[in-house]
């Protein structure tokens, strides 16, 4: 039976020590609050600069063939923004120049046996492996398409036809999403994964420090002499790690939510005016619950892994691969287009809460699936804590003389496949 007084004493002792450790304060408070927003701002500003550099160049385009027959189109290409008409000795030399990067695009105009006397065929030659050539191609295609559409509209009007009649299908586009919806979409894509990273960063140092770190400093044995059940010690430490992890997650969530507009401004330019980065107040309690559950899961997992290490460095090596998986898997999953919370995904740890998180930011609440997600996450946390409690019964693990790792422990001791080897 858990003794809350003793658990609280251990918790406060750990917390008090942690708040005096610079690296823990940096990882739990400063990094989530400032580092990611600042890093993202720098990255987005750099990215927008690079994009600007690429998009603002003037494309060098050579026009050859029936220039007189396509004079109207040639004029439009020449007048197009950021397009410069250049010349080359011949077509072969032009293709060579494109490959060398001295020319971006070759536009050849040829007569076409169509209905109209001034019908022409446009052949565009570029190098898709080069950014400049690709962008030049897109600019010239835009000009050609606009020219063709204008021609068709004019021809249709002369024959008394409207847009859908002369084009068979006329597409009308309308975006019903509001500026708030778009802002939430962007928040939902970015914030959950950043919060996970922060939860892990915030919880990792304390988790390793409270287990392997104690062993390395020889204070573990001191702790074991305390007149309380080992489960109380474990609970106090767990509470401490989860508190710091939750704090890191919450602070990051607040920082990212409040600064997203500023962060995205360099990347989106004037389009930022059309977006509103607000999170519905109704989602906040659910988001806090989700952050807490994630922190409890991550903390329990990291502590169990680190309890098999003898030194802090050992623990870092042991936890490293797991941490990578815990960050990479949801990061990759969350990029899948159209990924939504389903019954199956509600059973996948971390990804399930990430999806609930994202949908909550978007103001979407699928309550049965949210309930299932929370239930499954609690179940996973319970399983990990049971393993942690089982570990406290093995004195070789507690005293650091156990030679194996988590896998060997689960296989040989908990599942009793070959206890003698464990």
């Amino acid at each position: 039976m858990l003794n809350l007084t003793d658990t609280g004493l251990v918790f406060l002792r750990e917390l008090r020590g942690a708040l005096r450790e610079r690296s823990i304060v940096i990882n739990v408070v400063l990094v989530p609050l400032f580092m990611y927003p600042v890093l993202l701002w720098v990255a987005y500003t750099g990215l927008s600069f690079v994009i600007g550099q690429t998009e603002n160049f003037t494309a060098r385009v050579m026009i050859a063939g029936e220039v007189e027959k396509g004079a109207a189109l040639v004029r439009k290409i020449e007048d197009a923004d950021r397009v410069e008409r250049v010349s080359a000795a011949d077509l072969e030399a032009a293709e060579e120049a494109i490959r060398d990067g001295r020319l971006d695009l070759l536009v050849e105009l040829a007569p076409w046996e169509g209905v109209g006397a001034d019908d022409i065929e446009v052949r565009i030659t570029g190098d898709s492996s080069k950014d400049r050539s690709r962008i030049a191609m897109s600019r010239v295609e835009d000009v050609v398409n606009r020219h063709r559409t204008a021609y068709l509209e004019r021809a249709g009007r002369e024959r008394g036809l409207n847009g859908s009649a002369y084009q068979m299908i006329w597409i009308e586009r309308e975006n019903v999403s509001t500026s708030r919806d778009m802002g939430r979409f962007i928040l939902g894509m970015a914030v959950p994964i950043l919060v996970i990273i922060m939860l892990i960063v915030g919880g990792m140092y304390p988790a390793l420090d409270a287990t392997a770190g104690e062993r390395e400093r020889s204070t573990w044995e001191t702790t074991l002499t305390a007149a309380t059940d080992r489960v109380n010690i474990l609970a106090g430490k767990y509470l401490y790690v989860a508190t710091l992890s939750t704090t890191a997650g919450m602070l990051n969530f607040l920082a990212m939510s409040l600064s997203m507009r500023t962060l995205m401004a360099p990347l989106l330019g004037d389009r930022i005016q059309d977006l509103s980065f607000t999170i519905p107040w109704s989602a906040v309690p659910l988001i806090f619950v989700v952050i807490m559950l994630l922190a409890l899961f991550v903390s329990a997992f990291l502590m169990v892994v680190a309890s098999f290490a003898r030194t802090f460095k050992d623990a870092q090596s042991l936890a490293g691969p797991f941490v990578t998986v815990m960050i990479l898997v949801p990061a990759v999953f969350m990029q899948f287009p159209g990924l939504e919370l389903t019954t199956w995904l509600a059973c996948v740890p971390i990804i399930n809460v990430c999806l609930v998180f994202r949908e909550a930011i978007g103001g979407v609440y699928q309550w049965p699936l949210i309930g299932l997600t929370l239930l499954m996450e609690v179940l996973y946390i319970w399983i990990i804590l049971r393993i942690a409690a089982a570990i406290t019964r093995y004195e070789d693990i507690m005293t650091g003389s156990y030679e194996g790792g988590l896998g060997g422990f689960l296989k040989h001791r908990l599942l009793r496949r070959n206890p003698s080897r464990g």
């Binding site: 004493l9 002792r13 450790e21 001191t222 074991l224 004195e395």
Partner: protein, 251 residues
């Protein structure tokens, strides 16, 4: 006559563990002894003799593989928390929490070991004064010298005022002055009526401090009794000779 009501009662205590490279290792083999109230009982043995393992079992850090050990009547295997409430364990290898202050360390151990919360501040003051650590009581442990740390470590061992104190090689790594101070503290604690179980491999220390001595070798107790009794059994005068005599006899 020994009884389970003695402060420390040990019978057939055994510790066997599995080591990947050595297989089954018998660290302690069916040892038995008792400690009387208010005496200093010494476990004398070479490195690796089984002293630390024995003391770790008595302080419930390790679980015995077989046999019985009781502290103030509480079985170390069955009632470990109650045992720990009645024992203060000091070891040269157990460190202090580097980020806490001396006061916080003593207070933490007083509270977690069941000392009354309302009396804890007074108890901390008392120990801070007794060990002369007022000046650095509010400094972080990792800022203290090893001599200062030693005093804080003893203070934290005594924080909950336990009737039984276990000292595992307490003078290892200390300079002469600090070692002498440690010996003085043990004598003072004995005078206060504490039962002290203490391990050492330093013969002079055992000779000077212990009321009774048990000679432990390869996990077995070869002999135990007062220094006089051991002298009578071997005919040797110095503890060093007595020790060697028993080791040779066992070999």
């Amino acid at each position: 006559m020994t009884t389970v009501n003695d402060p420390v009662f040990v019978k057939d205590l055994t510790k066997t563990y599995y080591d990947e490279s050595r297989g089954s290792v018998h660290a302690v083999r069916q040892i038995g002894f008792t400690c009387n109230p208010g005496e200093i009982f010494g476990l004398l043995g070479a490195n690796g003799a089984g002293k630390t393992t024995t003391l770790r079992m008595l302080t419930t850090i390790l679980k015995p593989s077989a046999g019985t050990a009781k502290i103030m009547g509480y079985d170390v295997a069955e009632e470990p928390v109650k045992v720990r409430r009645h024992v203060g364990f000091y070891s040269a290898t157990t460190a202090l929490y580097p980020r806490l202050t001396a006061r916080e360390t003593i207070e933490f151990f007083a509270r977690i070991n069941g000392y009354d919360a309302s009396r804890t501040p007074a108890r901390v003051d008392e120990l801070v004064e007794r060990f002369g650590i007022e000046e650095y009581a509010r400094a972080r442990i990792d800022k203290l010298s090893s001599g200062m740390k030693q005093k804080v470590a003893i203070a934290r061992t005594l924080a909950h005022d336990p009737p039984i104190l276990v000292f595992d090689e307490p003078t290892v790594g200390l300079d002469v002055l600090n070692a002498l101070e440690m010996q003085a503290i043990l004598t003072e604690l004995k005078a206060q009526g504490k039962t002290i179980l203490f391990s050492t491999h330093i013969m002079s220390e055992a000779e000077k401090l212990c009321d009774r001595i048990a000679i432990i070798h390869e996990g077995r107790i070869l002999a135990s009794g007062t220094l006089e009794a051991l002298r009578e059994r071997t005919g040797a005068h110095y503890l060093e000779d007595i020790f060697v005599s028993f080791i040779q006899e066992a070999a």
